[in-house]
């Protein structure tokens, strides 16, 4: 059933043939063939755990294939490490942001290629150039700040800028947009188009199907470590693509647009909010942010990259120290502000940065799921194995976590499955309020739909949900109300009919000027900021054709 329109040999820059790779008995790749033509944008898609990242790592020398070959420009190559691959002209953005958090933004951008004078690094020039380059990507930050002080989205932009700066014949992007806003996605697309013009081939991995149709020429679909389809993307309709990925018949793939949210709004219980945050303030980052969440409603938190959404969530659960502000749960104020206290009060947060703030990498799936619930699963400090196994089994089934078993190390799971494990960790606590920071980041369409319907279900069960998502559509379709943040200020509140893409963009554009006595006041984007942006709309590319294509089929 493998459909190949394989090109004649020699036509491709990069060619992978017959690659096998297994980890301790798990076959991650089986007999994979993959060919990349010059100047094409090639989509690589598949479910979580299909083997996409593994394939990329085999190509770039992170892993060594058990068998099979990798050819670059017709020559067989056996890279021993990413350094060699990079030197040979393959530039890669790996899945999770892989930069150095403690180092300055500029240093990260130029690592390994620092501008030098008299053999020594020219720091002044490096910083100047970094600011200039990042400015062009819409990231306007102090480049001498440590990278970790940026939001994940901004970090992803830095990684992107870095990869594109390297002289390369092939650029590989493993889920580059998972924390990006439509605006940044558009910036990325224009970068990719330029690359293409220069004859550079791009491998593009994403779970956002819209993006694939917008930018890619050809597609390779993987399932369970095998390539199941390669071909022109234009000739492949969306439903067929999904059915190939999931390995199910087209008929059974019911399409409900890109999100699986029930479009009906939840029945909101008016009355006392289950969570109410008042005047949260964090120096330089959040300014007097207030919001309420009622039982049974999903409140979206909108805003652009670095608007302070993640920080709001962290401030609520006490993971981030606040200078002012209070949080009440069901009318009772939360006195000691710490994640533990928040959890005891029934408020949990799914963190945005899965690797740094989510998984406990060396522990098993079982231990990761039951971690927060341990006190409830134990008596006199001794964990009840039976209770624990039951909970773990339940949630592994319910969230369809794909692992070789509850004993598998969580770091060996694919990104999407890790995300589900984390969701399970919180759900088994039976929380009252769920703060979800990018809950579907990096998870495949199938799983995304599952997660989205779970959110729906949870809200229907009476939970209060705060939903932060860079996926505009997800935010709009999933939320009953949307609170809009900008530079750490609440600048809008959409309700009912206003919850729409236009409503959101309008709210952002017409945001009132911030209070003048605020020392951190950013200048309002005006005509001076860029000729392409006369209206001062924060969204780049007012040219509608440049906007990401949204094919809503419903």
């Amino acid at each position: 059933m493998v459909q190949q329109d394989l090109d004649p040999r020699g036509d491709s820059v990069l060619e992978v043939s017959g690659v096998h790779k297994s980890f301790a008995g798990v076959h991650a790749l089986r007999d994979v063939d993959f060919a990349l033509r010059p100047a094409e944008v090639h989509a690589l898609i598949g479910e979580n755990g299909a083997g996409k990242s593994t394939l990329i790592k085999v190509i770039t020398g992170v892993y060594r294939p058990d068998s099979g070959t990798v050819r670059l420009d017709g020559r067989e190559r056996d890279f021993r490490n990413p350094l060699e691959a990079q030197a040979a002209g393959i530039s890669t953005i790996y899945q999770e942001v892989n930069l150095v958090p403690l180092m300055s933004v500029a240093r990260n951008l130029f690592l390994g290629r620092e501008p030098r004078r008299f053999g020594l690094v020219d720091v002044g020039r490096m910083n100047r150039e970094a600011a200039e380059v990042l400015g062009r990507y819409g990231v306007d930050v102090d480049v001498t700040r440590p990278l970790r002080t940026l939001g994940l989205g901004a970090q992803q932009m830095v990684a992107l800028a870095r990869a594109v700066q390297i002289d390369a014949r092939v650029v590989i992007m493993d889920e580059p947009t998972s924390s990006l806003e439509p605006r940044e996605v558009e910036t990325l697309f224009s970068v990719i188009r330029r690359l293409k013009e220069q004859g550079i081939a791009v491998v593009y991995v994403s779970h956002r199907l819209d993006e694939l149709y917008a930018i890619c020429d050809r597609v390779t679909v993987m399932r369970d470590g095998e390539v199941v389809h390669t071909g022109e993307i234009a000739q492949l309709e969306r439903l067929r693509l999904i059915s190939l990925m999931l390995g199910r018949e087209m008929a059974t793939v019911r399409d409900k647009g890109t999100t699986a949210f029930d479009t009906d709004r939840h029945e909101r219980q008016t009355g006392r909010p289950v969570l109410s945050a008042e005047g949260l303030t964090v120096r330089h980052r959040l300014h007097d942010v207030s919001l309420d969440i009622h039982p049974g409603e999903v409140v979206g938190l909108g805003g652009l990259l670095g608007a302070g959404r993640s920080e709001t969530a962290k401030a609520i659960v006490g993971a981030l120290g606040t200078d002012a502000g209070s949080v009440e749960i069901e009318g009772k104020p939360l006195h000691r502000r710490s994640p533990a206290a928040a959890i005891r009060a029934g408020v949990v947060m799914l963190a945005e940065d899965r690797k740094a703030e989510g998984i406990i990498p060396n522990l098993s799936v079982r231990e990761n799921i039951s971690l927060a619930a341990l006190p409830r699963l134990s008596r006199a400090g001794v964990v009840s194995q039976a209770k624990q196994d039951e909970v773990v089994r339940l949630f592994m089934e319910r969230l369809r976590i794909k692992a070789s078993g509850p004993d598998q190390k969580v770091s060996d799971l694919s990104g999407g499955n890790q995300q589900k494990v984390l969701l399970a960790r919180w759900l088994c606590l039976n929380p009252k309020v769920l703060l979800l920071d990018e809950p579907t980041r990096g998870i495949d369409v199938g799983a995304k739909a599952e997660v989205q319907s779970i959110i729906d279900e949870l809200a229907a069960d009476g939970l209060g949900v705060l939903l932060i998502s860079s996926d505009l559509e997800e935010l709009i379709e999933g939320s009953d109300r949307v609170v809009i943040l900008k530079d750490g200020h609440v600048v809008g509140n959409l309700d009912g009919e206003d919850v729409s893409e236009d409503g959101l963009l309008d709210a952002l554009a017409t945001a009132p000027p911030l209070s003048p006595d605020d020392p951190d006041l950013p200048e309002q984007p005006g005509p001076a900021t860029g000729p392409e942006n006369p209206g001062g709309t924060p969204r780049a590319g007012s040219d509608p054709a440049a906007a990401p294509v949204k094919e809503k089929q419903r």
């Binding site: 691959a85 892989n98 150095v100 403690l102 605006r183 900021t529």
Partner: protein
Amino acid sequence: MTSAVLPPPATAKARAPRATLGERIASQVQRRGALAVLVLVVAIASATSSTFPTWSNISSILGNNAFVWLLALGMTFVIMTGGIDLSVGSMYALGGVLGAYGSTHGTWLAVLLPLAVGAAWGTVQGLLVAKAGMAPFIVTLVGLLGLRGLLQAVTDEGATTYLVPQHSAFRHLGSGVWTPVLITAAFFVLGIVLLTRTRFGHTLTAMGGNENAAVLLGLPVARTKVTVYLLSGTLAAAAGALGGARLGSGVTTIGIGYELTAIASVVIGGTLLTGGSGSVGGTAAGVLLLAVIHNLIDHYFSQYGSAFTDTVNGGFLAAVVLLQTLLSRKQQLE
């Protein structure tokens, strides 16, 4: 790729918040906690003691310990990569013995023999860490034990002491106050340049910050690691040899526990033991701070006996790291 490919500027949006003057001063103090504490301690000591600020006291603090500070310099590099080198104390002693032994055959051998052995063993340690993937703590613990053994083997279980010949030119390398201080200072300046102004320095910092990322970013991680341990081993052996030139003999019982002092200096200097953040300047402040504190404690507490001095020493070390940590707390918190 050149910048020509880049898209037109997107809208500037979020802006980096500007820090107030007070905050900038605070952040400087935070970043240079050790220096701040050092200035404070020296100021207090100068005000309360008449002999502390004299040249002869300062020269005794500097002259005798200068070479030992090279251990902390090498350690800074190692710790920046997230590693640790416990073998420096033993290597220091071995360097001294080899230097003294070499000096009986000529000045060149006195310099080259320790450097060669230090570099060779450093390379072995580096390879074990980088290529065999062993934990630095264990590899260098092996060095700590094994090099002592080697030292004893070459000195007949410590029974033979090699003396540097009275008129050997080698002695000049370690004599007086200025030679050691200048040699050490030169190494530290080179160290600062190496760490902040070279690709090697950036690479090793990146490795400490996130080794996985450094590999994926295509940095020469393995090579850098080997080089770092090589540097540390060579510096320790060089320090030992110079120390031997100063003492005029290869003392075998020297250097015990120096690795911990070196680590403490580096950490007090604000370098994170997990790697990825720190500075050579901080280490310099750290070693000076420890030396000054030792001098003061000796001065004021010697007559109460060594047990009491130890207790005060431990207490002071705790207080200093506490102060230093509190100062730089904000940095570490996020």
